[in-house]
């Protein structure tokens, strides 16, 4: 590209970058707006939303659910990926293909049967409803199976000859080799759990069990909280995502492109 072209492109990209980030600047600045006009930064909105708005509880729920879902995905996707990559059994191929097929199923379309099922199982308005649907995700199955398939199996064979059991081999030998893939999986599972809206929204109605996205959306509809207070809550909900993004940008990119380039 010529010099002139590069400068024009650079200016264009910068303008777009500013417009991309502007709403977040607005969110953060508004969150510090004091109800009484003073020039100093005010944390009042943060304390108001955390206590009076009940955001502290939502924060706890979001964190608890995200941690359990992430751990669940690490263990269960590793297990399934190992079986699908290494073991021959009838149904192996079907289970692998099903993980890809499920990625194509529009999840929001099945909210009614999922709601009925969770209610019938007596799990409506429980932590189980927030956790169970996300404990194993198809992208994770896909990711782990692919990764383990490409690992050499010498160590596994050697351990097997030494008499190690399947679970020892999986967790002591295969798992450490899978660290890069597990990191991608963990980041992806954490973010999707943290941001998840539709299922937590339809499967829980008690404010005690609201996660951050649901709790904030509910406050938005009510008159109780002011806009700066809700912006403070939105900032709290966004910060962990930005932190994860800053530290794990490569893992996030890999998680997204792995599904795309191969799928």
């Amino acid at each position: 590209m010529r010099r002139f072209g590069k400068i024009t492109a650079c200016i264009l990209l910068t303008v777009i970058l500013i417009s991309m980030l502007f709403p977040f600047f607005y969110m953060i600045i508004a969150s510090f707006q004091s109800p009484t006009p003073t020039c100093s930064i005010s944390w009042e909105n943060y304390s108001a939303i955390l206590t009076r708005g009940g955001l502290a509880g939502f924060l706890f729920n979001s964190a608890l659910v995200a941690v359990i879902v992430t751990l669940g995905n690490l263990v269960f996707c590793l297990m399934a990926g190992y079986a699908l990559a290494r073991k021959r059994f009838s149904g192996n191929r079907l289970l692998y293909i099903s993980a890809m097929a499920v990625l194509m199923i529009p999840a929001h379309v099945v909210i009614i049967p999922v709601y009925i099922l969770i209610s019938k199982l007596g799990l409506y308005n429980t932590y189980w409803a927030l956790i169970l649907p996300f404990l194993v995700n198809p992208l994770g199955i896909f990711l782990m199976t692919q990764y383990i398939k490409n690992l050499p199996d010498d160590c596994e064979q050697a351990a097997r000859i030494d008499g190690a059991g399947e679970f020892t081999i999986l967790f002591k030998i295969v798992a450490p080799l899978c660290k890069p893939a597990l990191a991608v999986l963990a980041v992806q599972a954490f973010l999707s759990s943290w941001n998840s809206f539709v299922y937590p929204f339809i499967l829980v109605s008690s404010p005690k069990l609201y996660t951050l996205p649901v709790g904030l959306a509910m406050m938005q509809g009510l008159q109780g909280m002011s806009t700066p207070e809700i912006m403070a809550g939105s900032t709290i909900a966004t910060m962990p995502v930005i932190i994860v993004f800053l530290f794990f940008q490569r893992q996030i990119t890999e998680g997204i492109t792995a599904g795309a380039v191969k799928g």
Binding site: G5, K6, A9, L12, L13, T14, I16, L17, M20, P23, F24, Y26, A30, C77, M79, A80, A83, L95, S98, V102, M104, A107, H108, V109, V110, I111, I112, P113, V114, Y115, I116, L117, L132, P133, L135, V136, E166, L191, W194, N195, F197, V198, F201, L212, V214, A217, T227, I230, M231, S234, A237, T238, I242, F245, Q249, I252, I256, T257, A260, V261
Partner: protein, 287 residues
């Protein structure tokens, strides 16, 4: 290996698959032929729900809005993402910052994004004032309270959210093009535009189709933004099919009827995906 151990390894996935994917898809279809609701007896009523949908003005409006949303956002999202990816791939100074910055909107919770934009679009919000400054005929009460601007405003937001994600996919595709092809083109004296038309674009056709497929699946299901920003209003002008399913099934508890609407959408999405995947498959064989 013992069968029992194998079963333990795959059990969590089989259970999740059966409970949260296979069962709902089948049960949804069954429900759609009944008058299931939380009140009273359930009867099998054949295709009555489906027939009713086509004379239900709320549903037809929701369907129209959804199609409008899908066809009104995807071309813009795709083209903007492609242009940005091509520019970033030219290694412009700061390209890493651009790539990262554009991606941020798509990893922030949609609920938060919708809340922030509700404030920006409201009367006196920054985007409302910006519209006025530009001399546009801006609705006095903000974009979300007018039947003519509410849906386009949400669509604009959605393009803004999604673009960075597709930039990322396009960049991955561009990076996987063999460098030799570019070298050859450069030796032939091809400039930026010729390289773009004759090398980059043809090489990333299958990614374009993939981008359109996943964006179609995603866009047909638009719900969160609608619930947070407008609850389908004003006057149903932003109601979408999934919002209709939610409202009819989980608010009014006409679950059989709502399932019919859901299934119709499911089939529409499936048809679109299959057609597009066929296109991808065809393209891959020709190469």
């Amino acid at each position: 290996m013992k069968r029992f151990n194998l079963l333990i390894l795959v059990f969590p996935w089989i259970a999740t698959l059966a409970i949260f994917w296979v069962f709902p898809v089948i049960y949804s279809l069954v429900l759609s032929f009944t008058d299931y609701s939380i009140f009273g007896q359930t009867r099998y009523i054949g295709v009555a729900n489906y027939l009713k949908l086509f004379s239900d003005r709320t549903f037809l409006l929701s369907l129209k809005n959804t199609l409008y949303f899908v066809f009104g956002t995807i071309p813009f999202t795709t083209v903007i993402a492609l242009v940005l990816a091509v520019l970033i791939a030219e290694k412009i100074p700061g390209h890493k910052i651009f790539q990262a910055g554009y991606f941020i909107p798509s990893i922030v919770s949609m609920s938060v994004v919708a809340i922030v934009f509700t404030a920006l679009y409201a009367r006196g919000g920054y985007l409302h004032m910006l519209g006025k400054l530009c001399g546009l005929a801006v609705p006095e009460n903000g974009y979300l309270f007018s039947t003519s601007t509410a849906l386009p405003a949400i669509m604009a937001m959605d393009i803004w959210v999604a673009v960075g994600y597709y930039v990322l996919l396009y960049l991955a595709a561009i990076k996987s093009i063999p460098v030799e092809i570019y070298e050859a083109a450069r030796l032939d004296g091809a400039g930026f535009w010729r390289r773009l038309w004759q090398v980059t674009l043809p090489q990333i056709t299958s990614m374009t189709l993939f981008v359109v497929v996943i964006n179609t699946i995603r866009s047909f299901q638009i719900f969160i933004e609608i619930y947070v920003m407008t609850r389908g209003g004003p006057l149903g002008s932003t109601s979408t099919v999934v919002y209709f399913v939610f409202d009819e099934g989980l608010r009014k508890f006409n679950m059989g009827y709502a399932s019919a609407a859901a299934y119709l959408l499911f089939v529409v999405i499936l048809i679109f995906s299959l057609i597009q995947m066929k296109l991808i498959g065809g393209k891959d064989q020709s190469r």
